[in-house]
């Protein structure tokens, strides 16, 4: 592999770009493709787009031999709104599952180093923090404060993004009230229904750690379901 190709991919990954390395298995020739930036219609670029969407590397046959399309997508991210008790185990579990985790909480009493060792917490207001973080198709957003003043501004930004998962902690009753507020804010019912609430898979979770498992499991399920849907499309 040529040095320029390797350098380029390393730089693109650091910049958070989706990159596909196309490798001709006959000649050994490598080319770099940007599946979501290149709008060209060609069998290889189309296949690269599909591979990147489904996050699955694979081969495609062409006139000049078989090309292997290797997908390098930016890391999956998880944004937690609320430096609450559930967030403590959830940050650790999500990091183990490969997520880059960010916690947002403007309440400095919650957002302490002692409660989240090694993890930096953003103390901006949630809407400002969310605008900076720019959730995308590889981002999960989970609102965990129970407090509409903090959760709602974050959810409003999340609903305008391509986040593959949006969840909010709270009972069915709390969620119904949330719905009233969001519809009043101008969101359609279909858009509101992107928010999963009550949050997490139903495994009878009670403790903060158990709820963290339920939430992470639902996020993982949503992420793979998104891939499957894209593959089928």
């Amino acid at each position: 592999m040529e040095r320029e190709i390797l350098n380029r991919i390393v730089q693109d990954r650091a910049a958070g770009r989706s990159v596909v390395l196309a490798k001709n298995l006959t000649s050994g020739r490598n080319i770099v493709l940007y599946p979501f930036e290149n709008t060209e219609k060609s069998p290889i670029v189309d296949a690269a787009r599909e591979a990147a969407s489904s996050d699955t590397s694979g081969s495609v046959a062409a006139a000049d031999g078989t090309w292997f399309l290797q997908v390098f997508n930016p890391a999956l991210r998880m944004i937690l709104v609320g430096a609450v008790h559930i967030s403590q185990p959830l940050t650790r579990m999500a990091a183990m599952a490969g997520y880059e985790v960010t916690v947002i909480d403007p309440r400095r009493a919650f957002a302490t180093e002692a409660r989240f060792p090694g993890l930096t917490v953003l103390t901006d207001w949630p809407d400002e923090a969310m605008e900076k973080l720019k959730p995308n198709r590889r981002t999960a957003v989970v609102a965990l404060t129970h407090d509409p003043k903090i959760d709602d501004p974050a959810l409003l930004v999340a609903l305008k993004s391509d986040a593959f998962y949006i969840g909010a902690l709270g009972s069915s009753k709390t969620h119904a009230k949330r719905k009233e507020r969001m519809l009043a804010a101008g969101f359609s019912e279909a858009t509101f229904n992107r928010i999963r609430g009550p949050v997490g898979l139903k495994i009878g979770a009670r403790s903060p750690a158990e709820i963290a498992v339920a939430v992470l499991a639902e996020v993982i399920q949503a992420q793979h379901a998104t891939e499957k849907a894209k593959e089928a499309a």
């Binding site: 592999m1 040529e2 040095r3 390797l6 350098n7 991919i9 390393v10 990954r13 490798k23 298995l25 050994g28 699955t56 590397s57 694979g58 081969s59 292997f68 290797q70 997908v71 390098f72 890391a75 940050t91 650790r92 999500a94 990091a95 183990m96 599952a97 490969g98 997520y99 880059e100 985790v101 960010t102 989240f116 090694g118 993890l119 930096t120 917490v121 953003l122 103390t123 901006d124 900076k132 973080l133």
Partner: protein, 116 residues
Amino acid sequence: MNDVTAAAPRSFETEDVLGIAHAWKAEGRKVALATVVTTWGSNPRPAGSMLAVDSKTQFCGSVSGGCIEGAVIREAMDVIEDGKPRLLDFGVTDTQAWDVGLACGGKVQVFVERLD
């Protein structure tokens, strides 16, 4: 505002083999990169999994559950020597599996190339 950081190192699935290979190359080491390009049947590592190895057989990453790494590294030494990329087939019947290495009965194709 504080920086956005991750709490812990990324999982083993996301080990940055390419980044490590790039750093080795920058140190002046001779490096080959092996990539799983096709799998059939049961396989522990999906297409796109990588292993980087230097001319002293130090390696990182994986292309199987540990069964074929030895053979891939041996081939990689030749690739580092002559610069010719190779497409390796590891497909075995269950009775041969223990010799060649894929006890799971799967098949795998691995592309090995030198970093220039």
